[in-house]
């Protein structure tokens, strides 16, 4: 009886064919192709053209890499994004730790407060920071009124203002990213460390932080790429002299109408982010391995 039951039924139909298996991928692939791959391809192609000459040329690329301004803009983009990545991660970590571990009744409120600003939108919040940071803004007025300073501090229309604004806008994403990583750390590990004599600070230093390093890397990566492609905040809080790739691209497309040059900048920005992403994900994978988790 059991022997019969185990015999393979040769009349059973085969599983779905190769084509059928891949069928569900067609709609998203088509969308990606039409709205991503093709326009990207067009943009790359555009960077090799010149409006007054026909055929492919590297003229716009030559211009980009020999021009002091575009190179400074690129450097500024990297520095700005790097600073934001660090600030976001440092500020997000304690908030994420609290949200991951706390059982207090304030947890839901803190969570809402962390995410809620996103509802207001980037531009609104950036202008809000302008009002707070500018020379006649809230902070400077208060400090002058208190007699702490005589001249206003330059808090806006520079790197400082932009980093503050971007950190604020990107912080919720950092918190969510770190939260995932922190929730993956077994609370018993912290308890074990504690009972072995570690103070809360030691627990965080020796146990929590090392085990969440992949999460830290991914938070920094996320903050970096969001920063590098940001337009509104650097434009509004950076002021006239603060040029990053995103604002330079805007200018080239809409003011100078030099689309070839703009395409070069966009490609450089893309490659920059791809490189950082590649380094980041490799690092994250290596760290996971090293942590033996």
């Amino acid at each position: 009886m059991s022997v019969l039951a185990l015999k393979a039924d040769k009349r059973r139909p085969h599983g779905p064919s190769r084509v059928q298996q891949f069928l569900p991928l067609f709609p998203p692939s088509l969308i990606l192709l039409l709205f991503f791959a093709i326009p990207m391809g067009m943009m790359v192609g555009l960077s090799f053209q010149q409006s007054d000459a026909s055929g492919l040329t590297l003229a716009s690329y030559e211009r980009f890499f020999s021009d002091q301004f575009t190179l400074m803009g690129m450097a500024r983009t990297v520095v700005m994004s790097g600073l934001v990545a660090i600030c976001v991660t440092i500020m997000a970590y304690p908030v994420a730790y609290f949200l991951a571990r706390s059982k207090s009744r304030w947890r839901a409120l803190v969570f809402a407060l962390a995410i809620a600003p996103e509802l207001a939108g980037v531009v609104l919040r950036t202008y809000g920071w302008l009002i707070i940071l500018e020379n006649q803004g809230f902070i400077n007025n208060a400090l002058i009124w208190l007699g702490v300073i005589a001249e206003p501090l330059p808090l806006a229309k520079n790197m400082f203002g932009v980093v503050v604004g971007l950190t604020h806008v990107i912080l919720p994403f950092g918190i969510l990213s770190l939260l995932t990583s922190l929730q993956g750390v077994d609370p018993n590990l912290e308890k074990s460390a504690q009972i072995l004599g570690a103070s809360r600070a030691s627990v965080i230093r020796h146990i929590v932080v090392p085990l969440t390093v992949p999460g830290i890397v991914s938070s920094m990566l996320l903050a970096f790429t969001m920063s590098a492609s940001a337009y509104a905040t650097p434009a509004i809080l950076g002021g006239a002299g603060f040029k990053v790739l995103a604002t330079m691209i805007y200018e080239q497309v809409l003011f100078y109408i030099d689309w070839s040059f703009a395409a070069v900048m966009a490609n450089v920005l893309l490659v920059m982010m791809l490189i950082v992403a590649l380094i980041g994900t490799r690092l994250e994978a290596r760290l996971h391995q090293k942590l033996h988790t």
């Binding site: 301004f69 330059p154 002021g239 006239a240 002299g241 809409l254 003011f255 100078y256 109408i257």
Partner: protein
């Protein structure tokens, strides 16, 4: 037939029988409070005379609109657009703007030929402004008469300048160049040198006219360069400001009406352009928007005659730019501005 089929076919016929497409004109023009002015002065009379509806699109500066026209190969979705002579020339060269002729836009013949030449055959000059010196009447001891007054010590830290993304910046540099011994296009060094000095005495740079305006309205600055049309509107709004055409002269802003080559409603678009250039329309426009006109035969109020460009004599006081030369210099000047002028303000 079942009720659902009746309802469906009624809806379908309603959708397809919509009469909007043929008799609507989409005009891309001034935004904000100025929308009302153009509506009263031009759009409503046009709608009444031609029995059509004008759909208003306020989005975009001149260069942004041109970028849109270029990106869509001449089919941006609007039929008529307000830009400047620079875009008119560029658009003609790129083949993206409709060429006007005495047949299609008869009123072109009444415009000052010198000004029309600056704009080229693809631009109909419907408005002229000049760069004026706007100042706070309550903060400045005596009304300034010269552009050099901006450099005075008592105005240090009380001046704001346009950023290079605002076309005013390039024009101002050209003007300063002429005043300081150079010229508009090739010998531009004196202009940059002057702007660098002026930047050091300013509070900084802003791009949008509305934001620039706010600085003088709330008293943070006491003097600034500004187009005369908006300057007059500020005066009329009750702000304690006034403006002058300084003794050295000025540069014009030659605003134009343009029709993209792929406009859907071209016939009506050309009619609109011609209508805007009518004597009566120009008179309403001058009085309403407080600007000047390229038509020499209009009859306007004394105030408009005094303060706006309405005659040949007025035009003679202006330095007419070579816009093609400006276009080719723009990128290099932009970098020079970033390199020399912007750092001076910090």
């Amino acid at each position: 037939m079942k009720p659902i089929y009746i309802a469906a076919s009624l809806l379908a016929s309603a959708a397809f029988a919509s009469p909007t497409m043929a008799r609507d004109l989409i005009v891309n023009s001034y935004g904000g409070p100025y929308e009302q002015i153009i509506r009263d002065a031009i759009i409503t009379p046009f709608e009444q005379e031609y029995g059509v509806r004008v759909i208003y699109d306020a989005v975009g500066s001149s260069s942004q609109d041109y970028a849109k026209i270029k990106a869509t190969n001449g089919r941006p979705g609007f039929d008529v657009v307000v830009m400047t002579a620079s875009q008119s020339l560029q658009g003609c060269e790129d083949g993206l703007l409709e060429r006007f002729s005495p047949d299609t836009v008869p009123n072109l013949a009444h415009l000052n030929p010198e000004i029309s030449a600056v704009a080229g055959p693809c631009g109909a000059v419907h408005e002229l402004q000049y760069l004026s010196l706007l100042y706070r009447t309550d903060m400045v001891s005596e009304s300034p008469q010269s552009w050099l007054d901006l450099f005075e010590d008592d105005l240090t830290g009380r001046v704001i300048l346009p950023s290079f993304g605002n076309v005013m910046a390039a024009y101002l540099t050209q003007l300063m160049s002429v005043i300081h011994g150079g010229d508009l296009d090739s010998d531009i060094d004196p202009g940059f040198e002057a702007m660098t000095r002026l930047a050091a005495q300013s509070v900084g740079f802003e791009q949008a006219s509305a934001i620039l305006e706010s600085y003088i309205v709330d008293g943070r600055v006491w003097a600034m360069p500004f187009w005369d049309g908006r300057a007059q509107l500020l005066v009329d709004s009750g702000a304690p400001v006034d403006y002058v055409l300084p003794e050295e002269g000025s540069v014009p802003l030659i605003a134009t009406l343009n029709v993209p080559i792929g406009a859907q409603n071209k016939e009506l678009a050309l009619a609109f352009v011609d209508f805007f250039l009518e004597k009566t329309s120009q008179e309403r426009w001058v009085e309403g928007y407080k600007v000047g006109s390229a038509r020499a035969d209009i009859e306007v109020s004394d105030q408009a005659q005094d303060r706006k460009i309405t005659s040949q004599a007025d035009l003679d006081a202006l330095y007419l730019p070579d816009l093609l030369s400006l276009a080719s210099n723009l990128s290099a000047w932009g970098e020079r501005w970033e390199r020399e002028v912007v750092p001076a303000a910090r």
